[in-house]
């Protein structure tokens, strides 16, 4: 059962090219579908223009203005960006966010890879996979509150367990040193099973005969893993990394619910800083400029990873 679903999913990714090819031949005679197409696409087009395209352009425009929500935006050129370059809080937010992304992605990917291997080779039931997915289905707010309680300094169960091991209590949310690692751990907890399922789908796509050949050649399990599984899994891993890294950079919910950027500036991640500048301090121009920078960072990160991916795409064929 597990294999059929996952195998079914993989061709679906590759199918469009082929399906489109055959489709276009039979469909030639209907060249003039434009009017019908406009009808079908109209609602989505309204949403696209009003809530994606225009806001994107407007966001870029606003980043060059001074705009407190009262009055009109006033064009000030690149002044916001100049100010940001000298803004210690921005650099702090960037450093804090990068720290979060690094801890979160490293932990989450390693754990998910392990879980995916377990899902493929030992724990094959859908029930188990579903159970591991459960945290992912919960809202960030719920995950945050749940751990806010479990990790409470005074009477949280985790601190009792830590004490039981003979270690000192940890102020998970209250100390500058722990605030970001704690946020990263919460996110890892929530995303671990989900990421594992993505990687698991990739594992299922590796044809069995590759393993059989390796076995005939007398490869050890460790060799098989490093020389076959990992290289063939790489395109999927890179895709998973793109999705999860981009998601991590936009951490907001858990921070907003628990530490509110504190203690001091320890967990003021980029998106929370943007939120504060724009909505708490009504500085929409500055907030927009920060958002543009976040956007550029994400695009760069995706671009770099995508380039890295392209070279490996044909590994399976």
């Amino acid at each position: 059962m597990t294999t059929t679903t996952a195998r079914g999913a993989v061709p679906a990714r590759k199918a469009p090219r082929g399906a489109e090819g055959t489709a276009s031949r039979g469909w030639r005679r209907n060249h003039g579908d434009l009017k019908v197409a406009l009808f079908f696409i109209a609602p989505a087009m309204i949403g696209f223009i009003a809530f994606f395209l225009v806001p994107t352009l407007r966001g870029i425009y606003l980043s060059f203005t001074e705009y407190s929500i009262l009055g009109d935006p006033e064009w000030i050129g690149a002044k916001n960006y100049e100010a940001i370059a000298k803004d210690p809080l921005f650099w702090n937010a960037l450093a804090v966010t990068c720290q979060y992304v690094l801890i979160n992605i490293a932990l989450q990917t390693a754990l998910a890879l392990g879980l995916a291997l377990l899902m493929q080779r030992v724990a094959k039931s859908t029930l188990i996979r579903g159970t591991l997915l459960l945290p992912y289905l919960m809202a960030n707010v719920i995950a945050a509150l749940l751990w806010f309680w479990l990790l409470d300094y005074q009477i949280g169960i985790v601190n009792y367990l830590i004490e039981g091991l003979g270690l000192p209590r940890v102020a998970f949310f209250g100390s500058e040193q722990w605030a970001i690692p704690t946020q990263a751990l919460i996110n890892t907890w929530r995303h671990m099973g989900y990421t594992a399922l993505l990687i698991f789908a990739g594992l299922q796509a590796i044809p069995n005969h590759v393993y059989e050949v390796a076995n005939l050649d007398g490869a050890s399990p460790t060799q098989t893993f490093w020389k076959i599984t990992m290289p063939l899994l790489r395109p999927v891993l890179v895709l998973v990394l793109i999705v999860t890294v981009i998601g991590s950079f936009q951490v907001f919910d858990t921070v907003a619910v628990t530490t509110q950027g504190g203690p001091v500036n320890a967990s003021r991640v980029l998106q929370f800083y943007i939120y504060q500048r724009a909505f708490t301090e009504s500085d929409f121009g500055y907030g927009s400029a920060l958002a543009v920078i976040l956007f550029v960072i994400l695009a760069l990160v995706a671009f770099i990873q995508m380039k890295f991916l392209r070279g490996n795409e044909s590994d399976l064929d």
Binding site: T5, A12, A15, P16, A19, G26, A37, I41, P43, A44, M45, G47, F48, F52, L53, P55, T56, G59, L117, L118, R121, V122, K124, T126, I128, G130, T131, L133, L134, L137, M138, A139, V141, I142, L145, L146, W147, F148, L150, Q154, W189, F200, A201, G202, Q204, Y211, E212, N215, A219, T224, V236, L239, D253, Q271, Y275, G287, A291, L294, L298, A302
Partner: protein
């Protein structure tokens, strides 16, 4: 957990070697005890425990009395079993009772938040799935100039981080005078989501054209084909998409935080945040907070129990965009 599957398989088949061992029948029978397999299962059990036990702890706390929590912090059963937390959440306690049990005494309109969450998630899901299906039909089954260019443009919006469009969208909704209205909350989501279009287009592309062409010959128009052939044939992926969209919307926090602060349109996620910050710094109303958390998670839990398999099987497809 089914142990039958693993035991049928090879002995050596532990974390790293199951595939390799399939071809060697000599080892297949009676290994008295396989340490690697046992170790692998131990890891699986730890992972399951880490995923599930926190929820038990939430349940246990929500059934406890606040004042007894500190003294029984490690007791696995509820400390001084009591349904007061749930009464507090649903507004069945007077302020004095609530304060006596360690609540903040402030009223929260939980039923109102619940209603708002249901409205917000249902409206956006219904709209986004239906309109995205229409668009996906145009992208997959119709031929028109500029089709691929427009589709790429739609896809590109998946790359734009939500915070980036949230600022101008907030100003737009504010200019329309729709702050703190349900309409303002749902507008950005209701017309489409790029992911929904992408997801459904994949399925529409793979559907057979034969029935459709036969209907065409019979003189059926596109609207009829869409409603009578394409939609019914794609019922399964549409249901999956609706499920995923609903859960995503239910969990949405940032946009409702910006646009729906007012009590009358506040959704559960935002309400939970407010509830948490109402707790006085020294002694949070833990059992009340955990009861509220659990009740907020309940709809998703129910969907998960009912459709878990559908959700799990959709991940391999939906995740790799």
């Amino acid at each position: 957990m089914s142990t039958s599957t693993p035991s049928r398989r090879s002995g050596e088949a532990a974390i790293q070697g199951s595939r390799a061992a399939v071809g060697s029948p000599i080892r297949r029978n009676r290994k008295p005890f396989n340490w690697r397999r046992a170790g692998a299962w131990a890891l699986v059990i730890v992972a399951i425990a880490v995923s599930v036990l926190p929820f038990y702890w939430v349940l246990r706390t929500s059934l406890s009395t606040n004042n007894a929590l500190a003294a029984n912090a490690t007791n696995l059963l509820p400390a001084d079993f009591n349904l007061g937390a749930y009464k507090r959440v649903f507004g069945l306690q007077t302020a004095e009772e609530a304060v006596a049990e360690g609540g903040s005494g402030a009223q929260i309109d939980f039923w109102g938040y619940l209603r708002n969450s249901v409205l917000f998630s249902s409206i956006t899901t219904a709209g986004a799935v239906f309109f995205s299906a229409m668009a996906a039909y145009a992208f997959a089954r119709l031929r028109w100039r500029g089709r691929n260019a427009v589709f790429s443009l739609f896809l590109a919006t998946m790359m734009v981080p939500p915070i980036f469009t949230a600022l101008p969208n907030f100003l737009f909704i504010k200019n329309l005078g729709l702050l703190n209205t349900m309409l303002g909350l749902v507008l950005p989501y209701v017309f489409m989501t790029p992911f929904a279009i992408f997801f459904l287009r994949q399925f529409f592309l793979n559907m057979s054209r034969e029935v459709e062409e036969a209907a065409m010959l019979d003189g059926a128009k596109h609207l009829r084909i869409f409603f009578q052939i394409v939609l019914p044939n794609a019922a399964a992926p549409i249901a999956t998409l609706a499920l995923l969209t609903f859960i995503g919307q239910w969990n949405e926090y940032f946009w409702p935080l910006l646009v729906g602060q007012d009590e009358s349109v506040r959704v559960l996620t935002v309400g939970l945040g407010v509830f948490k910050s109402q707790s006085p710094q020294g002694a949070p109303d833990w059992s009340g907070l955990m009861a509220a958390t659990l009740v907020s998670a309940l709809p998703v839990l129910i969907l998960f129990i009912a459709f878990g398999k559908k959700i799990v099987n959709s991940i391999g497809f939906s995740g790799i965009k």
